[in-house]
Subunit: 434 residues, 2 copies
């Protein structure tokens, strides 16, 4: 962990810049996968699955039946999944637009404009396989898509070594009423959902976390005109701590982030000299008990511990960093949280660890990384909805609006735009004088 | 215009597929521009401006002073701009999230989750130059950004031949209180706002229409981790018409779309044999009066006129097409509009031409194209805002949540995630028993 004592803002600006252009070679390979899947459909998907996952699958999808999974998941885990799902549903259902958000306003007499939200028809959900079975991502993506009202929810996840689905992922899908899953991972899964194959439906929008390849594939899908939730990069947490904070909590929070992957990042901004001095020894102590020690150690090397005497400066530092997760362990943490302008999700107070939101508090864990919290929030029910505007103009409304539109259109040298109004105004005059 | 009599849905699905991968060569060139601007800053921007715009500019920005532009714009145009701006403001201010959208909910005793919207700090607005001075885009982008509460609004527009800004664009900027503009266009403008140069600030999110290069540049900005409004492709309109529709209105609406550019597209879906038979002759008649005749003719060649006997089928066809603009000229147009699931903006009834929304009705004209209306809406005040979630857990809340999070984290093989909870639960027990 790199220690910085009262660093300058300019220096931090450069240090915190996590923007990166995709590597040209990787982009080229991903685009080639897209081209092949577009051309060869299922065959291409199966072939990539053989190559990348080392599994030969005859059928790309398997049915999800509760009886296949129910007995293979511990009772306490099933209870926890239900409990978490209920919280997630309670929190996300308030994001479904109500009457205030679907509105019509008469902006002038005879000119009514409206906006309404509608569900995206088909959503594609990517569930990572890899080192750990991320059934929590199933909850975090399927529940908002269901609340939004998506008609079709297509789920893809890489096959395990037996060409099947992890039982907890299978159970969670079954619990949510999803009746089948495609055993496809990586860029080929994203390409398949972008173009559609014989077996895998094309979707309108793709959501879900994944490794660097999946993230890049989602960006390529976006280049192709498919919606995506957000480009999720390596996970990160920032911690704001004053001298009231518990050192062991901060250390544990740093480690829970650092174990995510080799490229995870942690930032601690503190006004406490004690924490500035004692945090690294405490982390080392806790680190030794962890199975993913190496990974955690590796990502801690690229992490920062910053001391500033003033809490306002510490908040400015985390706002500049724009973290995916922000933990506030200070006095009056609720008040401090109101000063936060850039963060995906904020964990307020000592009893609110990040892992609460990763699983079960109710907020979504699909959050912006790499500084993207400055321009976007995480997944909500609205991620699976879109807006549509309407306007209805009466004859009287058009009499007022028409001449102004003609004036503006002609100033933009768009004559036919004016004509579409003129031809109607002429007809209106005809109605009056004939 | 291609006439199709009761085409099959499968056929239309293929016909309507407007997804396209960016051309590799163009992508490479755009990425090279980004690299050069990143490396050489202002010098690179000036050099590209010399090459692409044929203008040598010494200062990249000019101040926007009302007195420089006020006398150069006609009174009637100024009045129309004010009138339109007021409508746009009235419509968009209802999109600024109120109390219902910024909410906190206690999902379980001791576990409170919240969501709040915040403005994006800095917004970059691209205003196209080119064949017509699009001052209407200034209204459509700056007003929502101001309502959202963006602290910094950076505007870029290509210089005219004298190295200055078009007077109407200048006037509109001044009217909205924008005090300077950067005379930079094309991919170099987007690259500059992505990375920042000595003169041009880096922004959090870039919005605005543009040609194929600007659109691709915005996508490259997105690959780099900068937010964008939406990838706007060639403009398009769909028209739903039954036998109550006025043939001359439909023809004028087709032409007002077709004059946008060589790649604009028009789709007419009608249940009227009369319209199916007579529309093309009527368009030809009106076409001859237009200055942009060639352009309109060219884009009409790639356009479709579809007959189906049943209005429901016609609506399904436009939903499948997912047009940027949809004009409904049928009986009970308001009711028909409720069946629309995919469209950027809907123009309801005979007296509501598309040009109304392009300029002055109040809705935004920055809308999804190329079928993207299936996954996103157009620009709203929320385009310039982001969400942030919060959670606050009490000691009692953590006693309930904690063990479940440990169970879930360990099932995902994320031990440290569990530890961050365990260490707190231990402390709580300590508080009780010690």
């Amino acid at each position: 962990m790199q220690k910085l004592n009262q660093p300058r803002k300019d220096f931090l600006k450069r240090l915190f810049d996590r923007k990166s252009t995709p590597e040209a070679e990787m982009l080229k390979k991903t685009m080639a996968i897209f081209e092949t899947v577009k051309r060869n459909g299922d065959e291409a998907v199966k072939s990539y699955t053989r190559t990348f996952d080392g599994v030969d699958i005859s059928h790309l999808s398997i049915p999800i039946l509760m009886e296949d999974f129910e007995s293979r998941v511990d009772g306490s885990l099933k209870e926890a999944i239900t409990w978490a799902a209920e919280n997630i549903r309670t929190f996300h259902e308030k994001q479904v637009p109500g009457k205030n958000e679907n509105y019509t306003v008469e902006v002038r007499p005879g000119i009514s404009c409206g906006l309404r939200y509608q569900p995206i028809e088909s959503a594609g959900i990517y569930i990572p396989g890899g080192t750990a079975p991320l059934f929590s991502s199933v909850l975090m993506l399927v529940i908002p898509a269901q609340l939004a009202g998506c008609k079709k929810i297509v789920c893809c996840t890489p096959p395990d070594k037996n060409g099947s689905v992890n039982p907890v992922i299978g159970y969670t899908l079954a619990y949510l009423g999803i009746d089948s899953v495609f055993l496809v991972g990586g860029a080929q899964a994203v390409a398949a959902m972008t173009y559609g194959t014989e077996s895998i439906p094309r979707v309108d929008k793709i959501a879900g976390p994944g490794n660097a390849w999946v993230t890049l594939a989602k960006q390529v899908a976006f280049l192709n005109g498919t919606g995506i939730d957000l480009p999720a990069g390596p996970s990160e947490v920032a911690i704001l701590a004053d001298d009231s904070a518990d050192l062991s909590f901060i250390a544990a929070d740093c480690l829970s982030q650092a174990e995510h992957g080799y490229d995870s990042q942690v930032l601690v901004a503190t006004t406490s000299e004690r924490i500035f001095n004692d945090l690294i020894p405490e982390i080392t102590l806790q680190l030794n008990k962890l199975p993913r020690r190496d990974m955690a150690q590796h990502s801690l090397e690229k992490s920062y511990l910053i001391y500033v005497p003033n809490l306002e400066d510490a908040v400015n530092i985390t706002n500049l960093y724009a973290p995916e997760h922000l933990i506030i362990q200070t006095r009056s943490a609720g008040l401090v949280s109101e000063q936060v302008t850039n963060a995906g999700s904020v964990f307020v107070g000592s009893w609110t660890p990040e892992s609460a939101g990763d699983y079960a508090s109710g907020t979504n864990h699909t959050l912006p990384t790499s500084g993207n919290a400055a321009n976007t929030g995480g997944v909500t029910a609205k991620t699976f909805m879109k807006t549509m505007t309407t306007q209805t103009i009466t004859q009287d409304g058009l009499r007022e609006l028409g001449p102004r539109v003609v004036t503006m259109a002609e100033a933009e040298e768009l004559k036919a735009h004016g004509e579409a109004v003129r031809i109607r105004l002429k007809k209106l005059k005809g109605n009056i004088y004939e």
